[in-house]
Symmetry: C2
Subunit: 208 residues, 2 copies
């Protein structure tokens, strides 16, 4: 991890990322933010199913999961805690990560030729209470790729795509699936930075 | 480099990137595009000075430089050639790469608290003639960072920033300089992908 650009002051809270996502770690590390990683111990799947049963939207679910992670970790750990979550939304339907290549193929067939949204939610918590939150949405349109393209894509990418909701990585060959991408790159990767960095400056984690 | 996702057909032209930029190579490689690199042998600086003397805008200069690179390489090399260039535009003034850390500091002081544009131009040429071109613009607003932040940033980043027009890398700590970023990430890095990938499908370099 890169060092902070100045020594931390004594009253500056430690910053903890309550997420195991490698993409989020890489984004924060790249940006030069000093942080530790300590994923929250919550049953995300049960919470998601509960929210779906209550008819909540993918956007609300992203925010609720980010908040649950931030609060759970922050209740047990001093400092400033980042909770984050991202959901994929096709016309109000939440897409989950595919468990098998056959499921990934089915997802990509459903997304083909259509515009979907990625909702990236970030919550900062301290002493078990949220102190700031935002949800940023990106909008992505898949082109009408051929069945031949899809078969070759799945074969070439392999099980790596099962770690990504939607079955694509925009920083890799997944970019070939799209005809239009509207939204911030960090939002698409799962951690919008502009608002978060401004908060980290307010809390003294980053220099003004 | 990643292999093409299907074997090339016999009538598919070879693709040459006429740019020495590592960022552009990485973008194309990441996207799974099969290509070779053969930078164009032109005097960019003389061409730029000539265009500036004629009162051309930063946007036009990006396009002219991308075209000059594509045509120069394509006149000597068979296949499809990508020429690319990017200019930084603050209220119509073209910013060059800084030669020294003192120049980089002066640039960042000028950009501080203001919105500037990055114009990324791409030209495809074949047999010495342009066959497609586009210019995509991103708009970035630097925050009113403190002199203390700037000093620490310059010390921390060091001469690496001299390779970047504007003195920042958005994929690194440079993102801390900004309060707002509007535009596609690949455009900011210097090679907008959506339009280019669509053309490469038309030419059979990529699968439909």
């Amino acid at each position: 991890m890169k060092p902070a650009i100045r020594p931390q002051k004594q009253d500056v809270p430690a910053l903890i990322l309550a997420s195991g996502s490698m993409a989020r770690r890489q984004i924060l590390t790249g940006a030069g933010v000093p942080f530790g990683v300590d994923p929250a111990d919550i049953d995300e799947e049960a919470l998601k199913q509960d929210l779906l049963a209550k008819g909540q939207t993918p956007r609300v679910i992203a925010q609720a999961l980010a908040q649950a992670k931030a609060i759970a970790r922050s209740s047990q750990t001093p400092g400033l805690v980042i909770g984050a979550d991202q959901t994929l939304d096709l016309d109000g339907i939440l897409f989950n990560k595919a468990a098998t290549m056959a499921e990934a193929e089915a997802s990509l067939r459903q997304l083909r030729g259509k515009t979907h949204q990625l909702h990236s939610a970030t919550v900062l918590a301290r002493d078990g209470e949220p102190v700031w939150q935002e949800v940023v949405t990106a909008s992505l349109t898949m082109r009408e790729f051929s069945d031949q393209f899809l078969a070759a894509y799945l074969q070439d990418q392999g099980p790596a795509i099962l770690s990504c909701v939607g079955g694509y990585q925009l920083e890799a060959q997944g970019v070939q699936l799209f005809e239009q991408i509207e939204g911030d790159y960090f939002t698409i990767l799962g951690l919008p930075l502009s608002g978060l960095l401004a908060q980290l400056r307010l809390y003294g984690v980053l220099d003004e």
